[in-house]
Each structure stands twice: as structure tokens, then as C-alpha cells.
Symmetry: C2
Subunit: 444 residues, 2 copies
Amino acid sequence: MTDLDHTHDAAATSWVESADATDADFPIQNLPFGRFARESGQPGVGVAIGDRVLDLGRAAEAGLLDGLATRTALGAPSLNALMAHDTADRVSLRHRLFELLSAQADAATQASVTPHLVPGSDVRMLVPAQVGDYTDFYASIHHATRVGQLFRPDNPLLPNWRWIPIGYHGRASSLVPSGTPIRRPTGQLRPSADDAPPTFGRSARLDYELELGVFVAGENALGETVPLREAEERIFGVCLVNDWSARDIQGWEYQPLGPFLGKSFATSVSPWVVTREALAPFRAPAFERPDGDPQPLPYLDDVSNRVDGGVDIRLEVALHTSAMRDRGDGPEVLTRGDSLGLYWTFAQMLTHHASNGCNLRAGDLIASGTVSGPDRSESGCLLELSTGGRTPISLANGEERAFLEDGDDVVLSGRCERDGFRSIGFGACTGRVLPADPAHAPSP
Amino acid sequence: MTDLDHTHDAAATSWVESADATDADFPIQNLPFGRFARESGQPGVGVAIGDRVLDLGRAAEAGLLDGLATRTALGAPSLNALMAHDTADRVSLRHRLFELLSAQADAATQASVTPHLVPGSDVRMLVPAQVGDYTDFYASIHHATRVGQLFRPDNPLLPNWRWIPIGYHGRASSLVPSGTPIRRPTGQLRPSADDAPPTFGRSARLDYELELGVFVAGENALGETVPLREAEERIFGVCLVNDWSARDIQGWEYQPLGPFLGKSFATSVSPWVVTREALAPFRAPAFERPDGDPQPLPYLDDVSNRVDGGVDIRLEVALHTSAMRDRGDGPEVLTRGDSLGLYWTFAQMLTHHASNGCNLRAGDLIASGTVSGPDRSESGCLLELSTGGRTPISLANGEERAFLEDGDDVVLSGRCERDGFRSIGFGACTGRVLPADPAHAPSP
């Protein structure tokens, strides 16, 4: 775990007044990094403070970041260069940004920073890094158990599940930033009967998946592993991920090589990466394994990981249907949960990922898999909430959902709260379902 | 299929004499593209002719490629920029290279080209493109059947196999060029008995997989599909792929989300990409489905694909053990086969891949999965040749192999031959197995 320092002081405030609002996601204790499109066409990287974005490339050009090892990286068009720096470099940057934005900053400092602050509503945010590889785990025991129960009621978890952080390679090209509309995919669908042929058409079982994602810092050379004690240092920060899933495409294709086109049509990520440093006050013990569960093998186990390998993030999924929007109603919260049901910590996932010598590069994205709580109502996807589509959920306005309908907005959000600390937020990860486009359906 | 033209004339020769040797892989009819490390540190792209490499960046600087739409792309540090061009642009480049290297070229032309020819033995070849995403299919019916028989003797192919080109996302970061040593991976291994815990250690069931890989040309936007009639245009060219596999890691981890660490420690690719244009004389009908097999759904079926969606490539796997090398013996051929057992064409794989709107980008790599023939002796991996390790193969020198031993060199090669045409080759895809490094085994 990272040390707490003055940047975690609950009493600290910013001269950017919007950062001090009680419900602000981005107070001065947060300072998350993101990537945005400038009007010039050249993307830049920035840090969020209240409702503003500090353009770090411009701030560096203006000399505000002189002396920092990360100065050059902040002029890059994505966060990969910053993510290649080590923790000490990143902490120095955090301290400088805190000084520049703190209410303690003198008038001259404020005047020098102000020209490089842009209203957040004016910038179009991008996927934070150029993701070389995207990996998706399956780390929530509640999710894995409930999904397993749909197929194997008596034996929901396979024998490997409690031993291995189960994961698979995802598709990097179809990662999109929050706000990008999601076209309902077409695909080959499971036959309606065992002896019937499959069909090709629009997915009728489109789902969201509430996930957390970690951006990797640094790089291990191919053939080198990452000991668990070093894994935390390889975590740059955390974002929200919506791993949209077409359950009918996935259900037909996934044997024996796993999910493929049921996932690769789009994966949304929230634009602001909340750093490991900002999360320091919210660390939590790793999942307490119930009696009878094995302890992890030694390479996935150490005291530090047990004591605070977890992180306590409150999560929420809200749905805003077109009917709600038409009537001027706000979104309806479908699920409130937290990240404490992750059986494996991100450090364990990362160490396992590299345990065969696989090289993890700065900017790689590692997602948790669907984050669900112990009760069905805390599920992070409709597949669980609707019991595989058999028990549609009822919305307050009388609508029902077994799976997503065209026009549905899905809004993920996350927040960390702990007594004695300033709460911080993740911003939102949103996406609206567009109808499948018949013009794009492939035909010979 | 691409049209045949004068660049396919069997009688054509080059003034680079090594290109005219009967067994040359790279005669003037081939002209494959690759990427190499220059001494300056800046990678360049080139074309192979006999035992030479023409540095295309330098040739472009010297004005030899003026007027070509691809001229700028040839100064790039990888082939991605060239792969972004359309077929017409690439054909124009092929024609220019043919003119420059043809024995018909006048003395002045030869003199202008010669300074940019580098001995192939002097350059270190790289992975041809910066691969955004690597996808691996499972398209050989002989491979899928024999592997399936190991687990389900009566029902080797799952119900979806004849309908869907089954595939999964692979790991892009661990793609390495031919010649890179392959460190035997460590990992979590299946328990020796159902009630025993798994162990962590070196893989004892390390295997190679003989595959073909296609580099993608052009890009479809996210949400747009690729009709089968357009899929061929999206194929830049073909290389050899060795999808190294740790069967014991894979066997324990792969349920339910597919192969992960059993594959991601390394995947070797041959450095020279044989273009679709060069392969034109060697096109073949798509796999003839046996009676009783379904025809593909309409989006995966058209006359053109049936008539010449396939390509006839003779493939070979050779093993060169350290004992053979110590005695000065050459490699022993384990398998001779061809690509005609691919049940799905590359165009079908590509169209299926994009059928959900997944964006395929220039430089993406799509591999076939293990290429095996109908007879066990034509298998493209040891898992098949040794029946899951139960029937080790005997080598001529008295050694046996169930799986790979440390020090083994695996050499893949490929060649196209057809009466009336000059045969062309793929070069080799090699890799030597290094011992697992205990110093790199993760421990807490």
C-alpha cells in the first residue's frame, strides 16, 4: 500500500471552487488522470479538478511542471508515457499538482495555472491510454457463482476457480470512451432446438457488465514474472469498465475457447483513471475466504496482500430508458454494490497474469470481470438480475427488462468513502444502446 | 482472387542472382514484405529478394519509389502504414518492385537499387507490424477432431464447430519474431488427483503449434461489418505462426473462459509476409465439406469463396534437438502437410470476426489455429502426434519426444508449388526452448 501523506488530508481544499463541493467526484485529494481531444486534433493528457480539466501538456510548456521526471511524458498524446514512470515519479507529480491547485497556492500560482484549466464539459474525453492488450478476469465470487448456477445448479464454481484468477484475453480495438453509443451487435445465434440450425441476426440478449479496470504501470520483460510484493507498484490506477455482452452470441460461440464476438463489439471505459495514490485511504483487506476454501498458492499470497490488497469502492448501475427520458424522469438505480466481493485482488491478478513470463506493458488494461455482491439485487449485470432472462426486473415506471432495449442508457458510477477522509469519485461510464443497423448486417 | 499478371510469369528472373536459385524462397515472383532493425535503431521496412533485403525506406528516399501512393508508408517504422493502403496501391508497389529487380532492368536501374540491398544475414528481423490485436482461430477440422477425441472420443467436435469459425483473442505483447528464444513457462498446473491441490512449477508439456497467420489490411469502423465479398481485400498477406502452448497450464486454466497463460508466454511469427498478390497462383477451392456437414450460413458463403477461397501451402515442421546439433546432424522433419485441411477460409474467419461490428485494423494478426492433415502423422503439434503425451514419437537418433525438451529448436517452413508457376517460400519460423529460469519463478 502507498503511504498516506498531506495530499490525503480531509481538510485540504482547492482554489478551483467546484472541487470543494461535498458531492464532487474530483476534489483535490483525487487528481485522476485522463486523455482528451484538443481542437488541434492532437490529443493531450490532463488531470481533473472539480468541473475543470488541467491541460498537463500546456502546463508543462508553461513551465509549471519543471523539474519533474514526468514532465516530458505529460506532453505525450496518451497516458502511456506517464504510466511507464515509476511510483516515485508519479508521487512527485501528484505533489506538484496538489501544490498548484491547493487553496494554499498564492495568487501568482493561481494566475499561472488558470489559463490551462478547461471546463470539463468542453473537452471530449478519450480512452486514457493506447491499450496494447486488454485482459478481463472473472474475479467476483458472487458473479461467478450466480452465473455458474444458471448452467450447473449443484456445482456452480469449477474446480480451478478458487485456485486461479480465471481470465481471458479481450479485444483492445473496440475499447471506447464513456459516452460512445453502443450499436447492438449482430451475430450467429444459438439454435432454438438441438437439431435446428443456428441463425444470424441481431442480439436479443444484450447486457452490461459492471467492472473495475486497472491500468498497468511499467513493464516486465517477456520471460520475467512479477512477484506479488512488486505487483502493487505495477498498478497505475483504476477506472470503471462496462464490458457489454451479447449473451446469445456468447452462449453459442464460447465452447471450447471462451468469449469472443459476444464481447468484442464494444467495451466502455470511464475517462478518468483514479490513481493508486488517491486510493490509498480506501484500501481494505483481501476477500476473506470462507472456511473450506483453499488458501492461495504461495506465489499468490503474502501478508501485505491479505491486509490491504483490496480496495473499497462503492459502485452503482443506473438505467435511463428512452421512456424515462421522454417523460423527463431521471435514471433508475438498478444496483448498489461494492468491490469487496472480488475474491482476487488486482495484485494477485497481475502476478498471475505474468506468472508464465507474459510481458505486461504500461497502458495495458486489466479488468476485474463483473462485480456483484452476495445478494442477487447487488448483481452487476442483467444476466444475474433477471436469472438468465427468466425473471425480468420491474422498473418504477412500469417497464420491464430481461436484457437491454434500444435507447437504454447505462450509467456506471463509483465512489470511495471512509470516515476521516474526503470521499472521491470515478466520474461516470455511460453508453446508449443503438439499434442494430440492418445495412451493416453482412450478406454475401 | 487477385488477377494473375506479368509478375507471376514463371520465366521471370532477377538480376539479384540468388533469387533465381531453384529452391529460393524469395524469387522475384514472391516479393514479401518485412520489418527489420537498422543500426541506427530506427526500424525499417523492406522486401526480400533472394538472400538480400531491399531497404524500402532508403529506396524511397533515393527516389526509386516516386509516384507511388505507398511511398510515404514505406518510410514508416513498421508495415502498418503500408497495410492501411488498398489493394490497388499495393499492386502498384509490387509492379514497381518487380521492374526494379527484374533481370530486364537496365544497368542504371540496377546501379541505383544496389546501394539499398542489404544481405539478409546482416539484418535482424522484427515482428512485421505493430499488432493491435492478435486473434487465433481453430480452423483445421483434423486438428479440432483429434484434439477433441482426446477429451470426447465419441463426440470430438462440439455442435457449434461446423457453423462458426471458432476463435479467441490472443496476446499481442508476447508476439516475437522468428529466432527469439522461448523460455519454458512456469505456471499453475493441474492437480495430480481430483482432490489434490494444484502446484506451481515449470511446464512439463510444452508444445509447438504450426499455424498460418494473416495480416489484416485496411480498417472497418467499429459497428461496421465486412461482407464476405470484401473480405479478401482485407488480407494483406500470410506468414507462419508458432503458437507455443503449455498444455498443462492450459488444461487447468481454460474452463470456462478459454486459453490464457498456456499461450501468452510467446507466439513466434515468421518475418516475411507473403502477399495475397504473390499467392494468387496458388489459390484453391475452400474445404469440401463432407456429406452431412451443413453449408455455412449465407454471411459465410459465396461462390467466389467456394471456388478459390483456399490457398495451397505446403507446410513442414522440423525438430533440431541439442543432441542432433552436438553431433552435427541436421534437423529431423516431424510433419509434412498442407493448408488444405482448413475448414474455414481466411476470408470466412475475417468476415465472422467482424460480424458483430468488431473493428479490424491494419496490422492485426489473425491466425488459423494448428494446421493438421487427415493422418495423425500430418499433425501440426505434439499433442496430436503423441496422443496427448501417451505415445511419444521416436526420432531417428533414438531420442523420443512426448513434448518439447529444453534446447529443442522448432523450425516451421512453408512453400507454394504449382505446375506452370515459380514456387515461392515463406522462409522459416524458428525458436529454441530455453530452460525455465528458477530466478524468475514468482514467490512472495
